[in-house]
């Protein structure tokens, strides 16, 4: 499907370049009418709220008219960027985000490749179902499971002790150096199955003729994986990567908030937690908005850069 889609768009390209005239608009008026509700939806729920960004430049107090707010310029941005812990918070966010991204992509693609090789449908379905079920658990439950398994009498320490790898239980959650890894691993456990679905779908659309041709040439299973399956899902991978880059400042909130504690705060505090503590928890909605603007600007910039790079490399693009 992927292949045919690419071909199709190549054929259609000159058509879209045609000048938009009244006649064309009239010809396609049904399409335009149909897009009205969607446009209204986007304007109402995506563009109108941008008005709220003004809060970042005020000392916003709820239940007061717009005209009654005091304007303070860049005060809240200054507080955000000048705070000593901000760099640390930014570091944690980026680190955990990158770890999650790398782990998330590699594990999902590997699992998808492996699943794709399984010939027995029942077995394949079972593995797939089991691996994606944790996706439906909320983080509060997952962190509970993680905290219990990592406790000094939890399963992880039990296994390590039985294997004589460690002499006494490790306090996993009180050591900062383990924290990022724990977060990354919990993400993988929770999301890996779910993330494979889209790759499996992409794999299903690869033309079987390609595999047959490879068979003719005497390609082994590994060869076929590397030279047929992987290139076949490359466009999907790249699109997903571009979209993921846009979310780089969203390392999550619940995991760090629920698993973090005083001993690991230097590694666990993310931008979202910082904003909760100094913004929302203090009724300082302006600071929260300022942080939101910062995140959006970074996201959009990164998204455009990634898109540009993909374009240069002649790959599939988002925009």
């Amino acid at each position: 499907m992927e292949e045919t889609f690419v071909k199709d768009s190549a054929v259609r390209k000159p058509k879209t370049n045609k000048k938009i005239t009244w006649a064309v608009l009239k010809e396609q008026r049904q399409l335009i009418y149909m897009s009205v509700p969607l446009m209204a939806y986007i304007i109402l729920f995506a563009y109108v709220p941008i008005w709220g960004w003004t809060m970042a430049f005020q000392d916003y107090k709820p239940a007061r008219d717009f005209s009654e707010q005091t304007w303070v310029g860049f005060k809240h941005f200054e507080f955000l960027f000048k705070d000593e812990s901000f760099l640390q918070v930014l570091r944690n966010t980026l680190a955990m985000s990158v770890i999650n991204m790398i782990l998330g992509f590699t594990t999902a693609i590997i699992l998808a490749l492996l699943l794709n090789e399984i010939k027995k449908v029942v077995w394949k379905r079972t593995v797939q179902t089991i691996s994606y079920l944790p996706h439906f658990l909320s983080w509060i439950i997952v962190t509970g499971i993680v905290a219990t398994s990592l406790a000094s009498d939890g399963i992880i320490n039990d296994i390590l002790m039985k294997l004589h790898l460690i002499k006494e239980p490790i306090q996993w959650l009180s050591e900062g150096k383990y924290f990022w890894g724990i977060v990354g691993a919990s993400h993988v456990w929770k999301e890996v199955g779910w993330n494979t679905i889209i790759y499996l779908a992409a794999m299903a659309s690869i033309d079987p003729a390609l595999y047959e041709a490879a068979d003719m040439d005497g390609a082994s299973r590994y060869r076929k994986m590397f030279h047929v399956t992987l290139p076949g899902i490359k466009p999907t991978i790249i699109i997903l990567l571009i979209m993921q880059v846009g979310h780089i400042l969203e390392a999550g909130f619940e995991v760090q908030y629920l698993l973090g504690n005083g001993l690991v705060v230097d590694w666990s505090q993310t931008i979202d937690i910082f904003v909760l503590k100094y913004g929302l928890a203090q009724g300082n909605y302006s600071l929260a908005t300022a942080a939101g603007i910062f995140k959006t600007v970074v996201s959009v910039t990164l998204l455009l850069i990634a898109n540009g790079v993909a374009k240069r490399l002649g790959e599939e693009r988002l925009l």
Partner: protein, 564 residues
């Protein structure tokens, strides 16, 4: 021609449809409002016949609780006699988040429990004129406290404090405040010694733990510390008590001036002791990574020998121990100090519970506000107070020679949560203005403070335990509370959201959360360097802004409250 008409029709239909979609999304709020009104109307239809005009009050309670049963007998009585019925909404999840959403939408019920965020957002209406005009009983009830109830920021009264208005020195048998708690069996094992100092306390725990490394199969935990989310006093608050000061939160008030104690030498002395105890394996290894549920689970298992906490905080875990018939694993609160010469000041006189209790919101109409204040005025009268606190005579308590008492069955019912949902109006009464002390006939307003009940309610184990010490109740372990400083307690000072004082306070707590566990878990020889780093980090903050704000309010209280 006909074709064109058709397409116009089609077009307008489509437009209409999309418009409808958009509009229905917008008007959701209105519909809801209308639905609510309908509901009110229905409730109003109930008992016009009685001569009282029925009305419904929507109430938000800022803590998790359960809905009373629809036929709850007390609420039914209130409805019959006054016409008022309540529609409760209880907190689910995080209070700050919930209020944030409510404030952003301006969507308040008629009556809400107090919160500084709400007051700051202008959610409450001033009550002083309403009370003067419509509520003579309430006015009388709060007379002595009138000035204290005023908001330091603008001088209006927004909330009716639910506790702290007392007419007699009440000696409840139940101490709810902070203390160093120790398992009764630890004291029994050591032959019921008198424990005054921190060192004696830890010696007892050490000996007991050596003798009994496990309790019912679970490894014994010597000392437990809870520092989770806002429940941080288990780690933060002990030093002020050890030098003989009452609970002022994050500061010690000395000669009328408040100063933080986190970086002082006596704080260091306490945490150094914890550090030594940790090296001996007395302190729970997981103390600083556990959440509240894990903490409660450990206490309920009976394996925890001691902790510093407020009684109400771990009460349900202790109840679980009682249900398991492990009386010897329940706790005694000890008012520990550093040295024998210091007089303990853990137990304090009840202060007015500021920033608590009900307020009426701007969403309540003027009529509704008057109705609510009149209702509260009715309910503060003695006959109603007896019903709300003791229940119905003959059903929930008995009267013998003018004294209120309970049968064992009635006593058991009062600890049964399911029974209470149908027979007590606790979610309302807990937040409403109430009499505390004695009724005019000499009975205590609270069953737990009625001397006859105090003795009768003791279990065999406790009777024997107290006899060993020659005490009447567990409160006798504490020194009697001296008169409060007029501005006490400092912990109820509103730091004002978003102000520098509040930000400094947040940062200081963050530092303590980070460094204190580190210091306690450090190797004993490294303790000093961690402590020095902690102190230098604290000194970098603008602590003065925080102390100034507290002192400013304390001064304001002295100026305004002294006039009675």
């Amino acid at each position: 021609m006909g074709g064109k008409n058709k397409s116009v029709l089609r077009f307008s239909m489509m437009l209409l449809l999309s418009l409808g979609l958009v509009l229905s999304a917008c008007s959701g709020g209105n519909n809801q409002g209308a639905a609510k009104n309908d509901n009110n109307g229905q409730a109003a239809g109930d008992n016009v016949a009685n001569g009282v005009e029925p009305f419904e009050i929507s109430v938000f309670i800022g803590q998790p609780d359960q809905q009373p049963t629809p036929d709850n007998k007390i609420y039914k009585l209130i409805r019959e006699k006054t016409g008022a019925s309540f529609k409760f909404e209880f907190l689910a999840g995080d209070i700050d988040q919930k209020l944030g959403v409510m404030i952003a939408g301006g969507d308040y019920p008629d009556m809400m429990t107090a919160n500084q965020k709400l007051t700051a957002a202008g959610a409450f209406i001033p009550l002083e004129d309403l009370i003067e005009e419509h509520a003579p009983n309430l006015k009388k009830h709060y007379e002595k406290y009138w000035n204290m109830m005023k908001d330091p920021n603008d001088g209006h009264i927004y909330n009716l404090p639910n506790y702290g208005v007392t007419n007699a020195d009440v000696t409840s048998s139940w101490y709810s405040g902070p203390a160093f708690w120790i398992q009764k069996d630890v004291l029994a094992e050591a032959g019921y010694p008198e424990v005054k100092t921190l060192d004696q306390y830890f010696d007892l725990i050490k000996q007991y733990k050596e003798k009994y490394p496990t309790i019912d199969g679970t490894p014994t935990i010597g000392f437990e510390i809870l520092n989770y989310d806002w429940k941080n006093w288990g780690l933060f608050n002990a030093p002020q008590h050890l030098i003989g000061h009452p609970n002022d939160g994050g500061v010690v008030v000395k000669d009328g001036k408040a100063e933080i104690f986190a970086d002082k030498d006596y704080a260091k002395r306490y945490y150094q002791k914890l550090n030594e105890m940790n090296a001996l394996g007395i302190i729970d290894k997981e103390a600083f990574t556990q959440n509240f549920d894990q903490y409660m689970a450990k206490i309920s298992s009976g394996a925890v020998l001691g902790m510093f906490d407020q009684h109400w905080n771990f009460q349900s875990a202790e109840d679980a121990l009682i249900t398991q018939k492990k009386d010897e694993r329940t706790y005694v609160g000890l008012p520990l100090v550093f040295d024998e010469g210091i007089r303990d000041h853990y137990k304090d006189r009840p202060a007015l519970n500021l920033n608590n209790g009900f307020g009426i919101t701007v969403n309540a109409s003027e009529e509704q506000a008057i109705r609510i204040i009149k209702l509260l005025d009715t309910l503060i009268q003695e006959d109603w107070q007896k019903i709300l606190s003791w229940g119905i005579e003959g059903e929930d308590y008995i009267v013998k020679d003018g004294r209120f008492m309970k049968t064992q069955e009635q006593r058991d019912q009062f600890t049964d949560a399911t029974w209470k949902l149908a027979n007590k109006a606790d979610s309302f009464h807990g937040q409403a203005p109430k009499m505390e002390g004695l009724f005019s006939d000499g009975n205590a307003t609270d069953a737990a403070a009625q001397p006859e009940e105090m003795v009768a309610a003791l279990r065999e184990y406790d009777k024997n335990f107290l006899a060993q010490y020659g005490f009447n109740s567990y409160v006798d372990f504490f020194s009697p509370a001296p008169e409060n400083d007029i501005a006490y307690p400092a912990w109820s000072v509103d730091l004002v959201d978003g102000s520098e004082a509040k930000i400094v306070n947040t940062k200081q707590n963050e530092l303590s959360t980070k460094f204190l566990p580190k210091a306690i878990l450090a190797k004993p020889e490294e303790f000093d360097s961690v402590w020095d780093e902690y102190v230098s980090e604290i000194r970098k903050l603008n602590i003065k802004a925080y102390e100034d704000r507290i002192n400013e309010v304390l001064q304001w209280r002295r100026d305004t409250w002294s006039v009675k």
